[in-house]
């Protein structure tokens, strides 16, 4: 993954999910993102390749890192960024997603970034607007930019993805991050282990080409990467687990469980973390093992790449 491929175009108009992308698309995005890593570390972080372009952030769900990451990414590229505040908008007055889309569309944006609590909301939006739509997370379906930034982080540290063994652990059922990562890591040639209690494991997941584990020690055995997911208590309407305490005992990442992975294994987490529930707080902050902060940092670069490529 060396040379520049500036002339090459992405095959899709919208970024709705990793499922829709080709390996070529992914390589284009990752290559483009690499260039922005150094820009983001330099003194003058602003360029003007998206000058005159309008980016609308439409977040129906609360978000700290993704929303600010997209906002910053757009601004660094010189776009006019508008973040809609849903609590004050007409959506609160009963406007449907399609009507909102039509209204925004009339303002001629070049790109809309959407996060929504319902799976498929970005697909619906993309059918109704003229501009490109970037999915910043829809329900439990996909979160493509998160998977891309995770891949970039892994490549940055391990220099490759092909042949790595990667464990994704925790609340898979409610996780769009897990789904996008399964597609992406599979495509890039990693072996993916999924670790979750049966109550948090989606039906027929093995059909996506992963290995299923309910025993975390077996699942992380000899892994190069251990990716932890947040327990999404806010999406759990009935009893999935007995207690956080028991969950931590069996599925929380502790030094003991991590010892089954490779010695140089890296810890990842898309955030926000529930310290002491899915991950030991010391491990989360261990700069030799945890790349959680780097994930956030590279997130901006990946989103800059996506904005640039899908704005064209």
């Amino acid at each position: 993954m060396a040379s520049f491929k500036k002339a090459v175009k992405i095959s899709q108009k919208h970024l709705l999910g990793i499922q829709d992308l080709s390996i070529n698309d992914i390589n284009i995005i990752l290559n483009e993102a690499k260039d922005f890593i150094s820009l983001n570390k330099s003194k003058n972080k602003k360029i003007d390749i998206l000058r005159g372009k309008t980016q609308i952030n439409l977040f129906f769900e609360p978000s700290t890192r993704t929303q600010s990451s997209f906002e910053l990414a757009g601004k660094r590229l010189g776009a006019d960024v508008m973040s809609m505040n849903i609590t004050n908008s007409a959506i609160k007055k009963g406007e449907t997603l399609i009507d909102t889309a039509m209204t925004l569309n009339a303002m001629h944006p070049d790109i809309i970034v959407i996060r929504h609590q319902d799976s498929g909301a970005c697909n619906l939006l993309s059918q109704k607007v003229n501009c490109s739509v970037l999915n910043a997370g829809d329900g439990r379906r996909e979160h493509p930019t998160q998977a891309l930034l995770d891949a970039l982080t892994i490549i940055d540290r391990k220099k490759k993805i092909q042949g790595l063994r990667i464990a994704i652990c925790g609340d898979i059922l409610h996780s769009r991050v897990a789904r996008s990562n399964i597609y992406l890591l599979n495509m890039l040639g990693a072996e993916v282990n999924i670790v979750a209690p049966s109550n948090l494991m989606p039906k027929d997941l093995e059909k996506l080409g992963i290995n299923k584990f309910t025993d975390m020690k077996k699942g992380v055995k000899d892994c190069d990467i251990v990716m932890m997911l947040r327990l999404q208590n806010e999406r759990m309407t009935s009893s999935f687990l007995s207690s956080n305490r028991e969950y931590y005992e069996y599925y929380g990442l502790t030094p003991d469980k991590l010892s089954f992975a490779k010695e140089d294994a890296l810890i990842m987490h898309p955030g926000p973390m529930n310290r002491g529930i899915e991950i030991d707080t010391k491990l989360a902050d261990d700069i030799n093992k945890s790349v959680i902060k780097e994930q956030v940092e590279l997130g901006v670069a990946v989103r800059m790449a996506c904005l640039k490529l899908f704005c064209e």
Binding site: L97, S119, G120, N123, D138, E142, P202, S238
Partner: protein
């Protein structure tokens, strides 16, 4: 009305075991005078004009056991007039309407209104059901006896299920005493909570909450267990999975009950949902291809008794939403027969069997003398070109709501005319 002669048609009338080329004579009062192979050009008066239906089929008018009409309360989705026109275009002459209206059909006073509206606005035969429980709350039984006396044909909570086992056993006792028909929509609420599609690889990929097939099986098993002691007239509205077919197979020899299936579950599977097509959000949900095939086999094995349209008109606004928010159900009364014919054209089920499940079999469960062409009976029938190819187009649909789940599907077989009491009320 003049006497009418229809000759050289292929006639199927399952009740009377007619499956042959022949003719049909409708007398001056709109009743069947003669039917079958003995009716031909040689034994009708030579001065009489006849209609030559060579290459065409005559079936008894279809009896659709599961139809939602928007009246009262949701007239913007479908009223009796639009329902009637849509039904006639599909060869359907009798429908059983669901009580999920606003207000719900749960008391005697509203039945009069319903019967009057049905009679004045609809040309087809309307057989209304009432709810099993007051206001669909699943708590207190409705007055089965009194409602029945007013003309209610059966009892069901429509899209809802009786969850409480004790209440269900009491419903069965009352229904036994009064000879009432109980129709259950089988879905355990806890297992199906917030579900929108089949629980499986599609729900996992689309990130949608799944409905496990166990939710259906649990209720069917419970009801059939209760039924062992309290054998009332009991009908499972629709089944959708191979697991349910297995339970029915096991119980069918021991106790009396009947089972329905929607033509949607017989024709489509979960893969058809594609990229969040909300028009395919149905209840019960479309399941795996293996399930669809098990349902077709269930038809052939005599385990399933009726095919229904599960006609559920929904306006466009309630479908133009995210999958989780969109309304459930599809408009399908006018495509029930053509879509059923697909099972014949692809050699899955014999034509006679399909017609039986659409006519005589539901009539028998409902205890009505419809869905047949017995001599002296009302001449309710349809003329069908079973080979005519056509494409389903939303804008050509007659129903007030255009939420078909088979948009752009190529079908073979179309209704040419539909008659009720000898009067041609629909002509292609």
């Amino acid at each position: 009305m003049k006497k009418q002669y229809f000759l050289n048609a292929y006639i199927i009338d399952p009740k009377n075991s007619i499956d042959e080329i022949g003719g049909l004579i409708v007398n001056e009062n709109g009743k069947i005078e003669a039917v079958g192979k003995k009716v031909n050009k040689n034994n009708i008066p030579s001065r009489e004009k006849f209609i030559n239906l060579e290459g065409k089929h005559i079936f008894p008018g279809i009896v659709d056991m599961r139809v939602f009409v928007g009246e009262p309360g949701y007239e913007y989705k479908e009223n009796f007039r639009t329902l009637s026109n849509a039904a006639l275009a599909g060869g359907v002459t009798s429908v059983v309407t669901m009580p999920n209206t606003q207000p719900v059909i749960d008391n005697v006073s509203i039945v009069d209104f319903l019967k009057r509206r049905g009679r004045d606005k609809a040309k087809i035969n309307i057989y209304p059901t009432a709810t099993l429980t007051k206001n669909l709350e699943g708590k207190n039984m409705t007055e089965f006896g009194l409602l029945q006396n007013k003309g209610i044909i059966g009892f069901t909570d429509g899209v809802k299920t009786i969850q409480n086992s004790r209440l269900m056993s009491r419903i069965m006792r009352s229904a036994y005493d009064l000879g009432s028909l109980v129709i259950q929509h089988a879905e355990d609420y806890e297992l199906a909570e917030n579900g929108t599609v089949n629980d499986g690889i599609i729900s996992t990929k689309l990130g949608l909450q799944g409905i496990t097939d166990l939710a259906e099986k649990v209720i069917i098993e419970r009801d059939l267990t209760l039924l062992e002691d309290l054998n009332c007239r009991y009908h499972i509205a629709q089944i959708s999975s191979s697991k349910s077919v297995e339970v029915i197979k096991y119980k069918k020899n021991e106790i009396d009950f009947t089972t329905g299936v929607s033509i949607n579950n017989l024709s489509l599977n979960e893969n058809d949902i594609g990229d969040f097509r909300t028009f395919l959000k149905l209840s019960p949900p479309l399941r795996r291809e293996e399930d669809r095939l098990a349902l077709v086999q269930g038809l052939k094995d005599g385990l399933i008794d009726v095919i229904v349209s599960d006609h559920k008109p929904e306006d466009e606004e309630s479908k133009r939403l995210t999958f989780a928010q969109a309304a459930t159900g599809a408009s399908g009364i006018e495509t029930l027969l053509p879509l059923s014919l697909e099972l014949y054209h692809n050699d899955s089920v014999k034509l006679f069997k399909i017609i039986e499940l659409l006519t005589h079999s539901p009539a028998k469960i409902l205890n009505i003398d419809k869905g047949n062409m017995s001599i002296g009976n009302d001449a309710d029938f349809c003329i069908v070109d079973i080979n005519k190819p056509w494409v389903v187009k939303k804008e050509k649909m007659i129903s007030k709501s255009k939420n078909t789940c088979i948009e752009n599907k190529k079908l073979q077989g179309k209704v040419i005319s539909t008659f009720i009491k000898g009067i041609e009320l629909y002509k292609l």
